[in-house]
Amino acid sequence: MADTKRSMSVSTRASEAPALTESSAGLLRELVAHLRQNRTQLREEWARRITRAELLTAMTEEEIFAEATAVYDNYVEALETGTFEALQAYSRRLSERIIPRGVETDEVVGIVLLLRDVLARSLFNKYQDNVEKLNRILDSYEPAANRIANTVAVGFVEERERIIRQQQEAIRELSTPVLQVRERLLILPIIGVIDPQRARQLTEQLLRAIRANRAKVVVIDVTGVAAMDSGVANHLVQTVEASRLLGATVIVTGLSPEIAQTLVTIGVDLSEMATVGDLQGGIEEAERLLADRAAPTATPVREIAPESQR
């Protein structure tokens, strides 16, 4: 990761190198000095315009001012050094803070464009008597300003996407709860479409729940599963096997005879799987297993056979 960033900023500098002739470097220095001198006034102006444009409404004025100050300083530094790591890192942290509060992408793009505008106006005021110099200053300012705006916006969008993915993950986990109906008995009703990733999550969740609840019997109900291909079926077999390794017996319910037949036809080995017609029947069977204290639920030791061929 660190290396990627480093090489990115190297190429940035390289691509802007042609513009940095002696004089335009001097112009940028002059520009930076101007922005430093007028720091207080300019960032106040910026914060005011943010409020007036009704951007960042989720934040208080003090917060806006504090963030504006930090962004301003990072902005000037990026202009001065031509490197964007600090700004990139800051915009990521900023995004992390403000995204949970509902700040939207267009607001962030909006505030950066406002800053560009505030600074351009101030340059205009300073150099309005010398149009030729103003143009040259703006020429060296524009590309850097655009790049800064881009950096901040991209940082925000990336962070936002990351958070959205995280939330989707959380929702997925919530969507299939492992239920404990009585001591040592868990029920896992699976509903909807199962892709490999979801199947993996379900299994991990179930195995942890078996351990946490010291479950001896698990009923997996697949009545609500839209379709079952060999991938999902093999995964189900693996789940049954892994549960046994934790000492829990799995009963699968809701597997229609048609699906069962198809699975056998495509070569899924269901022989090790205890199946019961419907959920109610499965729970009754589970109760019997649990009540039968004399017979341990761990698979009794049979003849030692080689690991199954798969």
């Binding site: 290396d3 990627t4 993950e169 993996r200």
Partner: protein
């Protein structure tokens, strides 16, 4: 990215070391604890194969990136006898050492990418990668 960890494999303690380092790297890359275990198990299998069939070799661990996806790569290199029939070696239960025969097919199943490159009399290189699911 870029940095890699080269671990010599010449004794059974090296197998333990390789899978522990693999787990640590997977943790750094942000893999879940379940996925860390999966990666460690795959490393254990191919590291043991080096020891068992080639006596010595090397495991190289690295972080890889593909777009915004992050992953770990594991390369196992030895200058041992090589594998004459790779297709057979990849079959579950096939073993020339009365082993379980689950190492190669199992490691393939555990990882997202798996490649065997082997020349009889020259040696074997196995390259495998696992990508993070999300975030």
């Amino acid at each position: 990215m870029g940095e890699e960890l080269r671990l010599p494999i010449a004794a059974d303690v090296d197998v333990v070391e390789a899978r522990q380092q693999g787990r640590a790297l997977a943790a750094v890359a942000g893999f879940s604890s379940g996925e860390q275990t999966v990666i460690a198990a795959a490393i254990s299998e191919i590291a043991r194969n080096i020891l068992m069939y080639a006596k010595k070799g090397e495991i190289i661990l690295g972080l890889v990136q593909n777009g915004d996806r992050q992953g770990v790569s594991v390369v196992a290199i030895d200058q041992g006898p090589g594998i004459p029939d790779i297709d057979r070696a990849m079959q579950y239960g096939y073993s020339t050492s009365h082993g379980v025969g689950a190492g190669l097919p199992g490691a393939k199943r555990l990882m997202d990418e798996f490649e065997v490159d082997s020349v009889v009399g020259r040696g074997t290189t196995i390259t495998m990668k696992k990508w993070r699911r999300s975030i």
